[in-house]
Amino acid sequence: MGQIWLLGKITFKEGIRNRILIGILFFAILLTVLNLVFAKMFTYDLSKVSVDLGLSMVSIAGLAVIFFMGINLLTRDFEKRTIYMVISRPIARWQYVLGKFLGLMLMVATSVATISCFAAGCVKTIAIYAPAYVPPNYSWTIFWLSVCFAFISLLIVTALAQFFTCVTTSSYLALLLTASSYFIGQNVEMVRKMLAGKDEFSSLFIFVVRIATWIFPNLSAFDIKTAAAYGLPMEVTSMGWVAVYGISYLFIILILTVFIFQRRELG
């Protein structure tokens, strides 16, 4: 665990000093301004505007950290050979994969924590300023649960980015494959539901979609913004299963990454 923590720490430091912290803070301030302006434009509709916008920004900022910083940090290790500095130590390859993931996880967590605190601040301000527009069942628990689910979803994307970086070593390809997986993951469940019970589509097409639902993560399952915005009741068991699904998928991707990286030559 010591080696993983050491590597996670330097990955986090390298990422966070790379102007990313300034970017996150700038984004958070922009979010606050936009949130307050849009809330006023939509007559302080807390549910539709403030909560939805705030939680969306949490995901967008996290994705920006992964796509523009995380993938760059990972591929740089192979392109510039900074990996030699790490692998020449008594650090096993599985420890390298987990250490890098830990560093990226800390970066994403910093982004999620910062943006969600600003988003919560906006919601609270509007709730105080215009209490009449707060839905009767509005729940802060579901708001923070939604943040946690967004974080799990971002961790899955991070693990996929690391997996594709290990497979391809090209930052462009890794970015393309991760972004594609993210968009498929966001929409695959919707497509599956659209196709369910309809005969007009070819069986091959339905088969391909079914395979995609098995391969790609169902990221839409982690999107509970609507429930958070309107304070809709949440079923604890189904939420628990979604969390178990997300964490299991994450572990499977990390295991696959370790498996590939163990066999990889770093010449």
Partner: protein, 253 residues
């Protein structure tokens, strides 16, 4: 025996069916306290051997051991310090942070790390920039940080790939002094270099590699005894091998 290489071969694919040997049945042993120089023209396979020792790449056949531990075991690298040919580091970390990482990851006693880092940076004339991010360093300074990282944990064996590359004469002198210090401390140094004067000055034994095959392994004195200096001996050794073993290749050129 601190480093043992047994009949190591490494081949790379060339085209659809072709295989190109980078290292061909290399056997080598390096004793404790030795400074061993690895010589060879570009593409001879020196870096490939070093990468196999560091487990960056795997041999197609054969085996290698460091301090009696197989190189594919991460524990083999507890005893090793390594400097790559063109070291690159995380740009936004400071020298102090990168050396702390290196020492801690190599399981050095935490209480000794800070003093060791300061002493090393002082010796390599980098103490005044220890809190600056590495992206502000010149090429020579980065090379010296690479060297510091390879020796920070007082390893039994130091494997250096072109340690003098990119250094000015002053930097080369610092590196040479560091290597000699290591020898005086009973540490073993295995390094590759194109700068033959450094090899001649520092090494107890040398190995000459051409096209992945070890042509000579022995003392520097023995190699130069029949020629006028190491450079001449080295060129003669390579030319003889090219004539004797690769004559058809030369004719085809």
């Amino acid at each position: 025996m601190l480093i043992r290489i047994d009949e190591i071969s490494k081949t790379y694919s060339k085209g659809i069916k072709g295989r190109k040997p980078a290292v061909d049945k290399l056997t080598l042993e390096i004793e404790k306290g030795e400074i061993f120089g690895f010589l060879g023209p570009n593409g001879a396979g020196k870096s490939t051997v070093i990468k196999i020792l560091m487990n960056f790449i795997r041999p197609s056949s054969g085996s290698a051991f460091i301090d009696s531990v197989a190189v594919d075991d991460p524990l083999a690298r507890v005893a090793v310090g390594y400097l790559p040919e063109n070291p690159f580091f995380y740009d936004h970390l400071t020298a102090e942070e990168i050396l702390f990482f290196g020492a801690s990851a190599s399981r050095m006693n935490k209480a000794q790390i800070a003093d060791r880092i300061d002493a090393l940076l002082e010796q390599l004339k980098l103490f005044h920039v220890k809190k600056q991010p590495l992206r502000t360093y010149s090429k020579g300074m980065v090379q010296r940080i690479g060297l510091a990282l390879s020796v920070v944990h007082n390893p039994k064996i130091c494997i250096l790939d072109e340690p003098m590359s990119g250094l000015d004469p002053l930097g080369r002198r610092l590196v040479a002094d560091l290597i000699l210090n290591m020898k005086n401390n009973g540490q073993t140094v295995f390094f590759s270099s194109h700068i033959l004067s450094d090899i001649e000055k520092l090494c107890d034994r040398v190995g000459v590699l051409n096209r992945g095959r070890l042509l000579y392994c022995g003392s520097v004195g023995e190699l130069v005894s029949e020629s006028d200096g190491l450079e001449r001996a080295f060129i003669q050794c390579i030319e003889k091998d090219e004539r004797d073993c690769h004559g058809s290749d030369l004719a085809a050129r």
